[in-house]
Symmetry: C2
Subunit: 192 residues, 2 copies
């Protein structure tokens, strides 16, 4: 007995303490002291930030299945990125409603059906938050986007295959779009 829990004991670290070292509006940084499987101590830099949604919106057009995507400037990579829509959960907000809201605001499409298809750590070595992936289907067009004052977002319909072939090269530079695409593939296979 205890075979499964003990199996991985030689890999597991235990947190001993944490200390915040920086905080901004969107993230905070902490030093976390952990005890290794061998009993030694190490200090690691970890970033805390909000969980957020990525929504894979699928629409049928005369060209076949297409994704509703957004083209926007990204301040980290300093380039335009063509992405699935998404955004940060507001405090207390239901994740499914947050995902539908972000889709509506950024693309002016509202989903008649939306469901969660998976969840990832965006970068589990240094980030503690999670990204939740949703599949949105049966989309209704709305009158217009509902963007924040500092949001500049173009909406584009892109064939599913074109996105797959483009991943890993501009403008498909956002790694997490590949993560979301994998879960779309899983879901598409599961539902035939």
């Amino acid at each position: 007995m205890y075979g499964i829990p003990m199996k991985n004991d030689h890999l597991i670290w235990h947190e001993e303490s944490r200390r915040e070292v920086y905080r901004s509006r969107v993230l905070s940084v902490r030093d976390t002291t952990c005890r290794s499987p061998a009993g030694t101590s190490g200090v690691f830099t970890i970033i805390d930030a909000s969980d957020w949604a990525i929504v894979v919106p699928v629409i049928e057009t005369e060209r076949g299945k297409e994704f509703v995507m957004v083209r926007q400037w990204r301040h980290g990579s300093r380039e335009l990125s063509l992405e699935f829509p998404g955004g940060v959960f507001e405090p207390g907000e239901d994740p499914l409603e947050a995902a539908a809201r972000e889709l509506r605001e950024e693309t002016a499409y509202a989903p008649n059906t939306i469901r969660k298809i998976g969840e990832f750590s965006p970068n589990p070595a240094i980030m503690a938050n999670h990204v939740h992936i949703f599949l949105a289907e049966d989309l209704r067009p709305l009158d217009k986007q509902d963007l924040d004052d500092d949001e500049y977002v173009d909406v584009e319909l892109v064939p599913v295959r074109e996105v797959f072939l483009g991943l890993g090269r501009p403008p498909y530079v956002h790694a997490l779009m590949g993560s979301a695409y994998c879960l779309y593939l899983q879901a598409a296979e599961a539902t035939g």
Copy 2:
């Protein structure tokens, strides 16, 4: 003329200044002031860190095509994660050699062929670095891993299909493994 460059002017921000606000051994944080397409100013928190490699190592066994994967503790998500091997480029190091080195050290397999299959921004909204994805094939087993003192890494062979089906759920919690898997799919399709 100038049609293509001007087409996206309504989306592009311009950096005006940057100021470092925090630095640790593995990352630094800066406030970056940018001018919006409409001419207003905004301040954004951006993280600078090293570029790194993710290596997709493929091996043929009696079970078919399998990935060589590593199971390790991740301090951000505080859980065990089953991942493709990889690691940070050392200063001045050739990316291809860095990728092969990380594969050897973490898994005790050396690649007879290795090539880059794409590149992503891991999180272009807030991070300025890049992750480079490599495909490693025709692997030779070495005597043993060559781990740092604070590295605890188990090596496992996992069928390609099992990884695909597991993405987005434990132990396949690392989002960038999905990104790398997409580029593996692209490369597999291109070479038949």
